[in-house]
């Protein structure tokens, strides 16, 4: 499978569109960092108004850890889109170019090819998240320095001491990998059914948007559906920044996302095995 994986990785990283994601993330991160560098204090003053009306807050609130947290919050919707851009193209792109038939005439079986393609997609997902971690976390630390992390969530305040933050980011990025792999698995499955990459990409993004809206709306009818939507569990990375960390809820979310990956991956495998490549 290793030669197949190498080929698939080469295909991904030789396409200019792959780098759109890396450039897009870099531009978005830099823009946010620039905005905070130029006028971050005013933004914080406005954002913390409710708190500072009643409390005196002293110290370096605006630091690299906080900027990274804000960046991650902002990217909730954008990163799945960028993942879908490559994952949705994996099979449909080959079908569109007519190379799928050629690929399947080689000795490697369909399962092996599918595994190689999915692994390559996973590696792309991880690379994108590492890129994001480097820019958003390391970059922000470089520009703004480190300090205690204070976050306002719901109607509560969480404060984490400077030495107690980095492991939270490591865990959050680790969890984000699982969450984004779920999106990749969905795009990958849809890609099996399509003959053109646009369809699975748009469909994946649409599903993520609709599910996210359902996850956000606080309407009793949707509350019964929410626990089954993967978008509800994708934001479990935030749990690592809560006090105390809701470990059991995070493990449940992790299990549900892994279940989605297995289910979507399994469905893609079955569909790909049965796919008629002759018509």
């Amino acid at each position: 499978m290793w030669p197949l994986l190498q080929i698939e990785l080469l295909k991904i990283f030789r396409k200019p569109r792959t780098y759109i994601s890396f450039v897009a993330i870099a531009v978005m991160v830099w823009l946010i960092q620039l905005a905070f560098y130029a006028d971050g204090e005013s933004y914080l003053k406005f954002g913390m108004q409710a708190l500072t009306n009643s409390f005196d807050v002293h110290g370096k609130v605006l630091n690299g850890y906080l900027v990274c947290y804000i960046i991650l919050q902002t990217f909730l919707m954008q990163v799945p889109l960028l993942i879908a851009l490559v994952a949705g193209d994996m099979i449909a792109g080959e079908a569109n170019m007519g190379t799928l038939r050629l690929l399947l005439t080689k000795p490697a079986g369909r399962g092996e090819l599918l595994a190689a393609k999915f692994t390559a997609t996973f590696i792309y997902t991880v690379s994108l998240l590492i890129w994001m971690a480097v820019l958003a976390l390391a970059g922000s630390i470089l520009i703004f320095g480190v300090g205690d992390l204070m976050i306002l969530r719901g109607s509560e305040v969480d404060l984490h001491l400077v030495g107690d933050v980095i492991w939270r980011y490591a865990a959050a990025f680790g969890f984000a990998t699982v969450a984004m792999t779920t999106v990749a698995a969905l795009a990958f499955l849809l890609s099996v059914f399509a003959e053109n990459a646009v369809g699975p990409i748009v469909a994946t993004v649409s599903v993520v948007i609709v599910f996210t809206i359902l996850s956000t709306m606080d309407i009793p009818f949707f509350n019964h559906v929410k626990p089954f939507l993967f978008t509800t569990h994708m934001i479990a990375w935030k749990g690592f920044f809560y006090t105390p960390v809701p470990w059991s809820a995070i493990w449940v979310s992790f299990g549900i996302l892994m279940g989605h990956i297995l289910l979507l991956g399994g469905a893609a495998w079955i569909a790909f095995k049965k796919k008629d490549i002759l018509c």
Partner: protein, 227 residues
């Protein structure tokens, strides 16, 4: 007879006022020996909607009322007004009317209760009740009602630095019902079953506990201590 009675009452009232003033004067002279101090302390915040870990802080004070709690390289969150008012700033000016309110037991000791009403209508403080130990000339408890920051209580425990009237432990209790944070707009992680409400000292109360480990008294302070 009536005239004698009235005269006696007035005399008794005047004597009580003199006693209270004398007591306060003694307390104040003890407190006023401290021109400035910096102190290493542990800060614990017990407020239901704040998840703040216990941390090391440095407390700065300079006469008459400059007071600052600083967490080196970190963030400190403290209720407005409540913690920044020290006993020194209350008593230093002498600009108040003192009323003797008798005695009251507090933690097994009978304390003298003195109510202080500011004479000038300028500050935030409306009324302060001091619970003073006559023998040690130390304030064990102070309850202050402010115009803008609610009512708060300071309980003080003395030890090594009792001679300087500086506490080893100070517990600030304040009402949190007035402190509300609006619900954020960001998408939050739903943890499924709601976690049980965090325990608070009592309903609608918050606590700030400062445990002092070391004072440096009257040695001057860094220029940026109150910045």
């Amino acid at each position: 007879m009536l005239l004698v009675g009235a005269a006696l009452l007035r005399w008794e009232g005047a004597t009580e006022a003199q006693d209270v003033q004398a007591l306060l004067s003694k307390v104040r002279s003890k407190i006023e020996r401290v021109n400035d101090y910096s102190a290493d302390a542990r800060l614990k915040i017990d407020v239901s909607f704040m998840k703040v870990p216990e941390s090391s802080v440095v407390v700065y004070f300079r006469k008459p009322d400059a007071f600052r709690i600083k967490k080196e390289g970190g963030i400190s969150i403290l209720p407005k007004g409540g913690v920044t008012v020290s006993l020194n700033s209350l008593l230093a000016t002498g600009n108040f009317a003192a009323i003797d309110a008798g005695t009251e037991p507090y933690e097994g000791v009978l304390l003298h209760v003195v109510k202080l009403v500011p004479l000038k209508d300028l500050g935030d403080i409306v009324l302060t009740t001091l619970y003073i130990n006559d023998k040690t000339l130390l304030v064990s408890k102070a309850v202050t009602t402010t115009r803008n920051n609610g009512t708060y209580e300071i309980a003080l425990e003395y030890g090594k630095y009792a001679d300087w009237a500086l506490p080893d432990k100070a517990v600030f209790t304040f009402n949190t019902s007035g402190y509300t944070l609006p619900k954020g707009l960001a998408l939050e992680y739903d943890q499924g079953e709601k976690a049980p409400a965090p325990k608070t000292p009592s309903d609608g109360k918050g606590m700030i506990i400062l445990t002092y480990s070391r004072y440096v008294i009257n040695k001057g302070l860094p220029a940026d201590a109150f910045k």
